[in-house]
Symmetry: C3
Subunit: 205 residues, 3 copies
Amino acid sequence: MDISSFIYSLDLIGVGVFAISGALAAAEKRLDILGFLLFGTITGIGGGTLRDLLLHTGEVFWIGDTAYLWMCIGAGVATWFLAHLFVSLRRVLLWADALGLALFSVLGTQKALAFDAPLLVAIGMGMMTATFGSLIRDGLLGRPPVLLEPDIYVTAAALGAVSYVALESQPWAREAALPLAVAAAFSLRAAAILFDLRLPKYPPE
Amino acid sequence: MDISSFIYSLDLIGVGVFAISGALAAAEKRLDILGFLLFGTITGIGGGTLRDLLLHTGEVFWIGDTAYLWMCIGAGVATWFLAHLFVSLRRVLLWADALGLALFSVLGTQKALAFDAPLLVAIGMGMMTATFGSLIRDGLLGRPPVLLEPDIYVTAAALGAVSYVALESQPWAREAALPLAVAAAFSLRAAAILFDLRLPKYPPE
Amino acid sequence: MDISSFIYSLDLIGVGVFAISGALAAAEKRLDILGFLLFGTITGIGGGTLRDLLLHTGEVFWIGDTAYLWMCIGAGVATWFLAHLFVSLRRVLLWADALGLALFSVLGTQKALAFDAPLLVAIGMGMMTATFGSLIRDGLLGRPPVLLEPDIYVTAAALGAVSYVALESQPWAREAALPLAVAAAFSLRAAAILFDLRLPKYPPE
């Protein structure tokens, strides 16, 4: 598999896990099947859509390639029939969200660099791609936003974006930059979930 | 009247009824006159604006043609002076919203097809054009979103979009595809309001 | 200093004061340092970003020039360390917001005119540039939106936009149109804060 098919696969997986997290949030609110599809789709493609609009990529990624929408629809339907198998919806949602966060923070940064964005802008794009979908999911559903909980969430997205930019600029690390950065972001987020890590709140000491 | 003027008129009517529904929501919250204009405008043009941005239509529909903004302003002012004539604001808002939903689900699909979007994307665009304006209206006003109520709302938008795509592809039905699809979406939404139809909630039996 | 550097400086100042208002809102919610940066950035660049997307300016203003993002980051960090010096966060936030409102209502209108938008559209763009950042800041944080308080807020943005359009069309006033319109919008908003001015609420007498 060449690198662009690999990235495409990761991108589809990212859309799928975010779509599942959106559908699980719909399950928490006991919506109907179209609510599952709607929130799955918004969460799955929201961050990347904003990224593509801001970068003027010429075409938003899911407009020309319907695989992304089918992935969201499939994730929504699968969640509708399978979500009751899980003891704690909230727990599964947290982990699906963590995987999507790690993938999109890196893939968003990479796409911004491919469109010649300055480094700081690329890092911001990665963070935004990773967090925007869940932000609107939670905003629309009236849930307390994952993003505002004081555990390491935006920080993990920042780590993914920054470590990708750093590794990608080193000739010896370029090949492995993408998986390493995804692993770094996911590990930090996982540690935050498991050990309840958090940054100090305002006011600082 | 040729077909493009007919579509233009329907589009203006759709903007107008959604603007009225936005201004009525402002009335519920007892805002001032500028709040009426603001929420009328956001609700009237919100869905179509997102559609045009995503489709890269070259120009957002209300930028070059001020008739749309004047329609929103007129609807806001008219609602300010006339809304007290209605016994139940909420009831009128529901019906204005239903008409806008039916019109925009079909017109949004049609515009996406005109820009060569795949069928699934065009259906999604129609549903989004029809629901996005009221979604942000309700989000900004802190109202329980119409969209999350378990009655047939997104479903009616989906019916409008799907039936337009189906009819438009048949030579014998093309001429009448637009009014028929609007009628189908409106009838389903009207039945949902009158008979309190709803899809089953999660979890499914 | 020529006129375009002057406008650039005002634009940066506007982004900075809105970023401070966003970071202060994060302080109210006792977020961590990344929350300060996130809400500073969203509030600082949100309105102008939407304006540039809608106007099809070719490039969103902060993508090619990282000074804007650094301004947001600087404002967020400064607020983190300095906000405790203020007795009333809410009071400072109101004034930072008022200055940003005045600057962006005029600068947004000016940019829209530069892209040949019709007058009414340019006025709407100015109002939107001035209010959208604080609207999403408040929406995401679950604060009661500044925008919906019945004091003169959107009205001050409208005054800034309208007076800029009026002055700019007069040969004798063109030079001074920008500072005069900013002063008009700021004075009206300041008077509204100090004297608790407000428009009549619905229903009208």
